[in-house]
Symmetry: C2
Subunit: 371 residues, 2 copies
């Protein structure tokens, strides 16, 4: 019996968007959904209760960071991530591949795996597909990811082709070594910006067979149009009855486009990281809260928003907190941005449920650029 | 009619401790009480709702910092501190004197006031008793403080004597220029560690007449025994029927000693600042959460504590958050430390109510040093 159960509840009438329900060992998720990123076993500046309040259903934790500190074995001995971080809901862990490949000069790839140096202390480490599984089993997420190679952008066709072969072989080793039956394992489609390679990667992974499929290697510097194109031709070749996930995406409009293409799951540090930098998402577009225009502005950040921050604080106060470097600035800004993202997903699901996602998408763009 | 109303509800049987009730324009406070410090119009890392949850009844805001940024006039135009920071309860503002005198070389004292440079941008400013009142009136606290000179420690007797004369003349000017009838004004007793000077300062201030009296110039580097001695001989010369406040105090044991001497109000950055440095207060003494001993410790920080942090998180997780530099570390540590301080005040009030503060004080020390 698979660790997760996914059902498409409703297919939108005129777009590829779909409303789904994903049941995991720690709860059922309505899709499409955005997963806040909890890199070091905490979504920065938020408590688990607050994550629930802003509508988070599932969060992502970064395998690489937790492997480095405090160590996956320690987390395992402490009862796994759910208990460790006091988050009883579903958790997805990435494979660590993306972070390891981001280390650049600090890592060396072989058929067997990747040798790399810790970004914290320069110590040497080696991750193979097999121990990527062991690490994620110790962390204990509901959904874990295959260890993949994420080629840089741009890369030569030949390099991307060779790389996706390695990703496929690693995916097979991941599936063979994954032992925990209470965790779902997703494959990661690579292939750069080349349609043929993406389709080949997807076909090879589907032949191995996974509980869900993700697109990796996007949002790595390519133009948005190109990213949308890749999402557009990848979704139709993935199984209809399994969850589809775009990793590391993205801006609000990227989520709308991903849903439009038929994807169900997304994650990105954008709402949380931008919050800490004073960049806030609103129904009328982006706001840089440090702007002098807000110095005496008693109105809420987004008058159409019903979140705790918009109900209780003025733009002037948010600006003061940000300029003063206060922790409460990071807290309130993160709260609002995550609420914005998760509320956007709620609205998208409602629109699909009503068979009007196409109109919803048009309204989103019209409103956003109206001011 | 005075802005505040203070009643002694019960005098402890064998000590000078007293249980009181202080009614302000923004609510009634049970005393003795500790006031969390919200330097820049936010108690660092906490929301107002969380402050209520940990038992805060009144908070302190720093006039100097708010004068510098965002500016008292701006706060005034935005409706005052209560509205600005979304804290509907009582607020006390200090006079800015202590911060200005801490600037050292950046300030120059004359009979008229103090000229100083901003710690942020080096710009020149001048604060007199009159504009210290105007600034605090714009900020809108329920209780405001006279502008005083805080002599450094140690200081020559002659300097302290001269200084307290200035503090008295400034206090008179503060009282004369203070116009808002919905704010209480407290005098600040100076006089260093000299009993005669402290008593003279108190007498001069009482002759002018204030709504309450504070001890300034303590916790400036003197031995604890000396601080306790000053509190011990100052309390009896202050009016029985008015609130008595020791400024900038202190460690938990300092609060116990202050209450024992007959003081009602305290404030200090210690619980919040120490929290951000990983130093936590527990019923069995202080804990440095970064210690390796806590790496795999699944027990709560303080098994006797009922706060949100101790109910939901392990020492191992708190240590991980602190070592990882996470915002949640500052949040949870601050939450716990403020709960500890405010719960200690609740217990002290209960002990006074039961006429057993002396025993409570003994138990506090016995328990604390038992491990």
């Amino acid at each position: 019996m698979p660790a997760i159960d996914f059902k498409v509840i409703k297919q939108d009438g005129t777009t590829a968007a779909r409303l789904g329900s994903l049941t995991t060992p720690h709860g059922t998720i309505a899709t499409p959904i955005f997963m806040p990123v909890g890199t070091q076993a905490t979504v920065k500046a938020m408590t688990p209760e607050e994550l629930r309040e802003v509508g988070a259903q599932i969060i992502l934790a970064n395998t690489y960071h937790l492997y480095i500190r405090p160590g996956h074995e320690l987390v395992g001995r402490l009862g796994g991530l759910h208990e460790f971080m006091h988050w009883p809901g579903p958790i997805l862990t990435d494979s660590g591949g993306f972070q390891v490949f981001s280390l650049g000069e600090l890592r060396k790839i072989t058929e067997d795996g990747v040798r790399f140096q810790s970004h914290l202390d320069g110590s040497y480490h080696f991750i193979s597909p097999e121990n990527a599984m062991a690490i994620q089993e110790a962390l204990g997420g509901d959904i874990i990811m295959c260890f993949d190679e994420c080629p840089p952008y741009p890369s030569e066709y030949a390099y991307v082709e060779k790389s996706l072969g390695l990703t496929t072989r690693w995916a097979r080793r991941c599936k063979e070594s994954h032992a925990r039956t209470d965790q779902a394992l997703f494959g990661i489609v690579q292939g750069g910006m080349h349609r043929e390679l993406r389709e080949r990667s997807a076909a090879e992974l589907m032949e191995i067979g996974f509980d869900g499929y993700a697109l990796g290697g996007l949002s790595v510097g390519e133009e948005k149009e190109l990213m949308y194109e890749v999402m557009g031709y990848c979704a139709p070749v993935l199984p209809v009855d399994q969850p589809r996930y775009v990793m590391g995406i993205g801006a609000p409009e990227d989520l709308i486009e991903g849903i439009h293409a038929g994807f169900d799951m997304f994650d990105c540090v954008m709402p949380t990281r931008n919050a800490r930098n004073g960049m806030l998402f609103t129904s009328f577009g982006r706001v840089n809260i440090k702007g002098a225009a807000y110095a005496e502005d008693r109105s809420p950040l987004d008058p159409e928003c019903g979140c705790y921050v918009c109900k209780n604080y003025s733009r002037a106060y948010l600006r003061h907190l940000y300029r003063s470097g206060e922790i409460l600035a990071s807290r309130l800004n993160t709260w609002h941005n995550l609420h914005y993202y998760l509320n956007l997903m709620t609205q998208a699901r409602e629109a699909i449920g009503a068979g009007r996602f196409g109109e919803f998408r048009k309204e989103f763009y019209a409103k956003r650029f109206s001011l």
